[in-house]
């Protein structure tokens, strides 16, 4: 199921805004496409929090895409003890963090101020794996079952669009938005 997140900027002018759509060819599971950081441009942090659950020894959802500055609530819905940590953010090992452990039904919040891929792990159940993809811009989308995506309402301009898929090499492509534009990715391991 396609999950499309659109964030409209306060005061942004809809004129010339367009969609970036396309298809990501990769392995099983969904991919994430986002507009990379725009030089000289910042975006207000979202006020809405998102939830990453631990349920039945799984991270739910498996992939969560958020804008940088978003607070994610990590919930433990299992009747067993869990832990959450990540060894890096976007490959930067200095950003490793361990959230510890907390009882069933409770949450622990974390605000992601650094963009990048956050590989979630549980040191009690090493088979558990999840991802928070922290997009540097509010322009991002997760692909649907057939790999299609659409990032809506992107202002006109030139950008770098990044495609990520679990276990594949990340790919970037330049895109110029003047009207609707299509860009496809073929990711390989």
């Amino acid at each position: 199921m396609t999950r499309l997140v659109v964030v409209l900027l306060a005061g942004a002018v809809a004129i010339q805004a367009a969609n970036i759509s396309g298809k990501v060819s990769a392995g099983k599971g969904s991919s994430v496409v986002y507009v990379d950081a725009i030089a000289g441009k910042t975006f207000p942090a979202p006020t809405k929090n998102y939830v990453m659950d631990q349920k039945q020894l799984l991270f739910v959802p498996h992939i969560l895409v958020v804008q940088v500055g978003t607070t994610v609530e990590f919930l433990n819905s299992d009747k067993v003890a869990h832990n959450i940590f990540w060894p890096n953010i976007g490959g930067n090992k200095k950003l490793t963090h361990n959230l510890g452990t907390w009882p069933t039904g409770q949450k622990r919040d974390f605000k992601f101020d650094n963009p990048g891929v956050v590989p979630l792990l549980c040191n009690v159940h090493p088979e558990m794996s999840g991802f928070v993809i922290v997009s540097p811009t509010p322009y991002f989308a997760e692909t649907d079952a057939d790999g299609s995506f659409k990032i809506a309402d992107v202002p006109a301009g030139s950008y770098t669009v990044v495609a990520w898929h679990e276990g594949s090499k990340t790919q970037s492509k330049p895109v110029t938005v003047g009207g609707d534009v299509t860009v496809d990715f073929a990711l390989s391991k």
Binding site: L57, K79, A81, V124, P126
Partner: protein, 542 residues
């Protein structure tokens, strides 16, 4: 006379008799890693202990974790119809089967000639103990799970064995009725019942030990001293050892991951120490049909042995919630508790020996010496994070009934066809031994376990039986009544289910060479030597 080889060779032959299990079937059922329950398989972490004691289930909300739903053997609503229906149960959605294979390589120190001499029996070609040896271990199949409603099961079997020390066939096979006490409103988990063949509730398991070699004290049988060189005569031949599985019934309660834990088992007395498959009377049909070609009786005695254990584990976290949880909470994730566990155990039985003798009227009859024996001891375990120090002490005592003839005169041992027929028994000096072990496990990294262990067994009878200067050889053995063994080891989890293990077994001063002193012509002991063994094991489960 018991030759020295009987006492010495088990040191080698028992060096790779591990029989341990992790249950990959549970990984499949729950979609989780081995390390959810094991520190360094098959050693259980606190969660693994809780999982096992709950009847191979998650302690809470088990059904929500199962990735392969169980098959219903009746709708839950059938319970309302009972007793006019069979109480509904479940079976695992896929067969809970695990498989295990291991291989060994060992290097044994010491000159070959010494082994040759020590191992030979008079008139036989000496046994060669090679310096290096590759050995395939065994291929095992095991299954365990839960039938719903607190009925758990376990069965393991070595279906392919090799090596002198391996014993095939069934290991453990039992049904366990978990928390049966709830039916009579006892506190939760205060009464469970296990029936079948099982390893006794030992303070530290042998069946699920991470060590390549077994604990020496667990393998120690009590064989009385019979040696013409020494006056002490003991008619004790009790093959029972703690490493043996028992057949019977056990009640237990409490938890091994915190608080009290107890168990009481009543099991078959089996003095011979072997399965009594040949004990098939043509006159008495056993439950398994001996008179009709069945397997006969499992025991060679009419008495039952009793084993009891009590332990208390103090979890030492300050936070009460953490202290009473299955696992302790930590700043970087849950982990095993810091704890101190103290326990005691007691085993009582009647070792039985049958002798062909005479009764008061002089008629031939079988005389049974039923020698009460016990094993008793205590144990401790201290754990701090990934460091675990634990140990056990055992004292063993067997009554010693010596055969006497019709005139009440002692019959010299061992009995021979020329001996007068026994007519009765008198009590003599008991056969005793004691010993134990202390072990430290340190999980250096989640995939590296460092081990240091000391085993000690003090048996005067063993030493006396070993004082046998074999004809044509200059070797005595063993040197002392106490056999010490130091065993440093290290284990690597190459994968969660693949492990490489190393042990170096150091045995100080086991045997001595007897030489003639040229100055006075007297025989004297000289040149004590050690038999050390490096063992490497590679195993996998899936």
């Amino acid at each position: 006379m018991i030759p020295a080889s009987i006492l010495i060779t088990p040191l080698f032959l028992s060096s790779i008799s591990i029989k341990s299990y992790a249950i990959p079937a549970f990984s499949r059922q729950y979609g989780t890693s081995c390390t959810t329950c094991h520190l360094d398989f098959p050693k259980l972490n606190d969660f693994g202990k809780a999982f096992k004691e709950a009847g191979f289930k998650f302690p809470k909300d088990d059904e929500t974790f199962i990735k392969n739903p169980p098959v219903m053997l009746g709708a839950p609503a059938q319970k309302e119809v009972w007793p006019h229906s069979v109480w509904p149960g479940t079976i695992p959605g896929m067969p809970q089967i695990g498989l295990r294979m291991n291989n060994f390589f060992q290097y044994t120190t010491g000159p070959l000639s010494r082994f040759n001499s020590l191992a030979q029996a008079q008139g036989n070609v000496p046994q060669l103990i090679p310096t290096t040896d590759f050995e395939t271990g065994f291929f095992s199949i095991f299954t365990a799970g839960n039938f719903g409603g607190g009925i758990a099961f376990w069965a393991d079997d070595d279906i392919s064995v090799s090596g002198d020390n391996s014993a095939g066939a069934l290991g453990d096979g039992y049904l366990k009725f978990v928390d049966l006490g709830r039916l009579i409103k006892l506190p939760t988990d205060s009464l469970s019942v296990r029936v079948g063949q099982f390893e006794l509730d030992l303070p530290f398991t042998q069946a699920r030990s991470i060590n390549i070699s077994p604990y020496d004290i667990y393998s120690q049988a009590n064989i009385g001293a019979i040696n013409s060189m020494v006056g002490l005569q003991q008619n004790v031949a009790n093959q029972f050892s703690f490493a043996d599985a028992g057949k019977g019934i056990e009640i237990s309660g409490g938890h091994t991951y915190g608080g009290y834990h107890y168990s009481v088992a009543v099991i078959d007395q089996n003095t011979s120490g072997i399965d009594q498959a040949a004990n098939a009377s043509p006159f008495v049909g056993s439950a398994t049909g001996s008179a009709n070609g069945g397997v006969g009786f499992a025991s060679d005695s009419s008495t039952k042995d009793v084993y009891a254990r009590f332990a208390y584990r103090f979890n030492l976290e300050r936070d009460p919630e953490s202290r009473h949880a299955v696992q302790a909470a930590g700043t970087t994730g849950p982990h095993d508790h810091t704890y101190l566990s103290l326990g005691t155990y007691y085993y009582h039985g009647n070792s039985q020996q049958g002798l062909l003798g005479v009764n008061a009227g002089g008629s031939q009859q079988v005389l049974y010496a039923r020698e009460p024996f016990y094993r008793a001891g205590g144990d401790f375990s201290f754990n701090y994070r990934t460091f675990n120090l634990y140990g056990l002490y055992m004292f063993a005592r067997d009554n010693n009934l010596l055969p006497v003839d019709a005139n009440g005169v002692l019959i010299p041992l061992p009995l021979s066809p020329a001996s007068p027929p026994p007519a009765g028994f008198i009590t003599s000096v008991p056969a005793k031994f004691n010993g134990g072990f202390v072990q430290a496990d340190y999980l250096v990294l989640p995939w590296i376990m460092a081990i240091a262990r000391w085993d000690g067994v003090n048996s005067t009878a063993d030493r006396i039986n070993g004082l046998d200067l074999l004809p044509g050889t200059p070797y005595f053995g063993p040197f002392r009544s106490t056999r010490n063994r130091f065993t440093p080891g290290i284990q690597f989890l190459i994968r969660p289910n693949v492990k490489a293990s190393f042990e170096y077994q150091i045995r100080p001063q086991q045997s001595v060479m007897a030489v003639t002193n040229p100055a006075n012509g007297a025989t004297q002991a000289l040149n004590p030597f050690r038999v050390n063994t490096l063992v490497f094991a590679l195993e996998f489960v899936y």
